[in-house]
Amino acid sequence: MPWRLLRFALSNKHPEPRMFTRHDTLKPAYDVVIIGGGGHGLAAAYYLARDHGITNVCVLEKGYLGGGNTGRNTTIIRSNYLTPEGVKFYDESVRLWQDLSTDFDLNLFYSNRGHFTLAHTDAALRTSRWRAEVNKHFGIESEVVGPEAVKKAAPMIDLSCGGHAPILGALYHAPGAVARHDAVAWGYGRGADLRGVEIHQRTEVLGIDVVGGKVTGVRTNRGNIATGKVLCAVAGSTPRVLDMVGIRSPIYVHPLQAMVSEPVKPWLDPILVSGSLHVYISQSARGELVMGASLDPYEVQSTRSTFDFPEGLSAHMLDMFPFLSNVKVMRQWAGMADMTPDFAPIMGRTPVEGFYLDGGWGTWGFKATPVCGKTMSYTVANDRNHDLITGFTLDRFRNFELTGEKGAASVGH
């Protein structure tokens, strides 16, 4: 046994520095309080400290770091969206992803795979062409390909999908990638921690004080904090936090379920998504097949799983890949998706001064983690919405100016 490990095991105190500094108490005041210790909240903390020099910041997390949707998604990263606002925003995110491992000095297992959105109907093919044209206009690699290209990239596929839904073509997006999602939260968290940001886990926000339309403090189960700026990055809990400051929003919460199979030998390189069959699938570095489907059909604010889900998803998966019939499902889980009517997020300043929102991330939030951190830290630091997020503000609903991403945000809609 290496001496270092033995010393570590025998010592009462940890002789090695921990990943994160432990803070026993909350300070009475911070410049910025970030609610939510997932990827988005920690990224905002990281860029606040690194790019804006604001380090008197605390991140409050009810559970543990990355235990929400950051650790529950299917880790897909892409930028082939439908609206100019969406495309520019997600493209910046993909750019940031590519050198994040170096930035953190932590391996995120960022793995460029290529991403196929399969079209089984003329309507889906039409949306694919539309997306490809918008994408190319903004310089993003995105093109419509025929079924033979799909077969070449994934030779095991049944192009007729059991005869029910023959594949007519696909939108191919070469930069599509996967990454290890929990490492993203740890990377941003450690980077923020090293720069003086305090991360408090198991700290639940009970209320937010607003005086004269302005944020003055946050009440938690571990004491009260005075602050003038609060950033809310809590995914499926967003409506609950908005209730604390009296803001109405169009967000509705449905669970999104996912599952992984037992590990198998590498056979699937690209990421495949099918809107008609309501499935997406990729193979992780460990060999597990990571699979997801569309949202649960009704509102639930918990992360319960159902038996209907693996049953339905497996049936569709077998339409695409009949040879998987003997592969076992190993785990299933759910995340709470904070959905919006136009399938675009809600970001930026709000009617309450000093309260900033990074929510409405529904089923499309993981890929946006870096750019959300960048743009929200800018917005919080300057009290001005970053140029990239002006299409995503809360008042777009009141003004009937929606940013329609439904055709590109997820499957099965």
């Binding site: 109405r248 929003s249 169009p250 509102e299 209907d308």
Partner: protein, 82 residues
């Protein structure tokens, strides 16, 4: 879930119709009130009154459901104007 007409059935036989929300009069209400009705939702957990439909019989009814625990409290036919 128990359909008030057809009895207890698997949840897969039902379709969710959203929370019951009163509609403001579109000819007299302000644009803000109308936008609030069109878009805004009560997204926090709690016991809510919702529309559900038993799809094989096309029976619409009301379910009171705890959306935090996904537990149905009771179901009944809508008693309002029909």
């Amino acid at each position: 879930m128990t359909c008030p007409v057809n009895g207890p059935r698997a949840i897969s036989e039902f379709a969710y119709g959203g929370e019951i929300r009163p509609m403001p009069d579109p000819t007299t209400c302000s644009d803000d009130a109308w936008a609030d009705y069109v878009f805004n939702r009560n997204g926090s957990p709690g016991v809510k009154r919702e529309w559900w439909c038993h799809t094989p019989s096309n029976t619409w009814f009301v379910a009171e459901r705890d959306t935090a625990r996904d537990v149905i409290v009771r179901t009944y036919l809508y008693a309002g104007d029909s």
